[in-house]
Amino acid sequence: MSGDVWVYSESEGVSAEVASAAQDVARGASAEVRVVDIGSPRQGIRGSGVRLLLKGPSGPDVSPAVAAEALARAAKDLSPVAVLLGATRDGREAASRLAAKLGVGCMAEVVKLASDGQGVTGERNVYAGKVVAKTRCQFPAVVTVKTGAYPRAEALPERTQEVEVGQVSDRSKVVGREKKAAGGVDLRSAKVIVSAGRGVKKREDLSMLEDLAVTMHGALGCSRPLSADLGWLPEEHHIGLTGVTVKPDLYLAIGISGQLQHVAGMKDSKIVASINTDKDAPIFQASDYCIVGDLYQVVPALRRALSARR
């Protein structure tokens, strides 16, 4: 099969990562990578010599329904071997719709993509991250690539090829959009959580941890005593058995002793790092990285090191 590997340029950051993944697939399939824009060209996402612009859909926002329909029409004509999208919520929806329209297999949230010339292989986490499944799908295939799994692709010189796909309509209409509150604690969906425990001595000192959380693009959580007993933070920050259950990529437990009450709420975090003065604190049993030390020294040091890196 001689088709190309397509990358839908849904959004700048994610799609640049997907372009890297596409290069892995293209290499194995002896194919070319094509970044595909829908409606209008997107800035900043590069990775292919030739870029496709699907003309027809208009407007600044392309809904997953419109993206799937436009990609499906173009794919029927141009027969790509694979269409790759970022595994964002919109990307996953568009990919699933596209696969259903084309009647082909769809691989979800994959890392480590490769191709043997006949299909795509990739790995993904299943069963709450306990198991890695290696999956395979024959060409043509639709794939969503896990965000953060690949580095952004390097920019390449490009020329754009326009493809007319016609008007595409969506049965649903977007009537409003608002940012989720920046400091708003949606702990359940936060990728990074900085969590405070009773090792924090005064209410005012929480701002130090909040700063750290903001620097790390994360949210601030706490153990039960801080919210339920001291009332230093509202209840929605409370992580634990009687609070929120979270599964972030990084859980940074600061001054938390690690009673089961607390651990039960964060035990499924991908990576846990903790800072505590007591080397026997149970939290270290539930941690990947442990620093025995005073949070009043380590947290400022972390802040300094983080700003030095950015």
């Binding site: 919109d90 719709r97 259903a100 769809c106 306990k130 198991v131 290696k134 790092a273 990947d288 090191a305």
Partner: protein
């Protein structure tokens, strides 16, 4: 209002066992109603209590899946449809096509509700595929659904924004867990629900397999699930630097 809710009898990841070579033992593994599917059932029940009508629950899977169907019936759904299929073989598109066929047979429905993804494999593909296959409007990741007459307003919860969408009945929708707090069916209610009707269908018959091979699982292996317990030594600055190095190696530092 006729409401279809699709649920999955998922592998209970907490009770999952591994064989001597570290592969998960899926045959006979303990199962449960997929976590977020409880939100889907709950939302169906809430729509019913606001608009009257009927809630029908669909499940595709092995015979054990009827346990999940009964749990949904105990929560308050009116009847169930069980579609027999081997969950270890079918991929998302096959599952969606069986659900679509079963829904068409007992439809039409005003609203088809799924959860955003299953708690075991979490591909999140079945709901949009189902929307496509049924040929109705589809809205993903709903955190709020309001139906007024022939139209509906849905709030979609995206990564960093909330999108309000207007669509028309009939439509399919996937819900996120923040949409509601699912009710807990008591043991007595589960026993009482055993009298509610369950229709049994065969997936291969109602949706004959096509020519596509779909996604196959080549192999599975376990990830070390125990914590690493790396003690980071040194003064505050040294320890902080070492920690950040370790975290970026893990790929968890944004």
């Amino acid at each position: 209002m006729k409401i279809a809710v699709c649920v999955k009898h998922a592998v209970d990841e907490a009770e999952l066992r591994l064989d001597t070579e570290g592969r998960p033992v899926l045959a006979g593994a303990a199962g449960k109603m997929s976590t977020f599917d409880k939100n889907a059932v709950e939302e169906g029940l809430r729509l019913k209590s606001a608009h009257q009508g009927e809630v029908v629950v669909f499940v595709v899977g092995a015979a054990e899946s009827k346990k999940t169907l009964k749990e949904a019936l105990a929560m308050g759904a009116d009847r169930g449809v069980f579609v027999a299929a081997d969950p270890l073989v079918i991929d998302a598109l096959r599952t969606a096509s069986m659900l679509a066929a079963a829904i068409r047979r007992s439809g039409p429905y005003d609203v088809v509700i799924c959860s955003e993804g299953s708690s075991d494999t979490y591909t999140g593909q079945v709901p949009p595929m189902l929307g496509e296959l049924l040929g109705v409007a589809y809205v993903g990741y709903a955190r709020k659904i309001e139906v007024t007459g022939g139209s509906a307003r849905v709030e979609r919860s995206l990564e960093d924004s909330v999108e309000a969408v207007e669509t028309s009945v009939p439509f399919a929708v996937s819900v996120v867990s923040e949409i509601n707090e699912p009710r807990y069916p008591t043991l007595v209610q589960i026993m009482q629900a055993s009298k509610k009707p369950i229709e049994e269908l065969n997936g291969g018959e109602i949706a004959p397999p096509g020519t596509i091979s779909g996604v196959e699982v080549v192999s599975m292996s376990s990830q070390p699930s125990t914590r690493k317990h790396v003690m980071i030594e040194g003064g505050p600055d040294e320890a902080a630097a070492k920690l950040l190095d370790a975290l970026s190696r893990e790929g968890v530092l944004k």
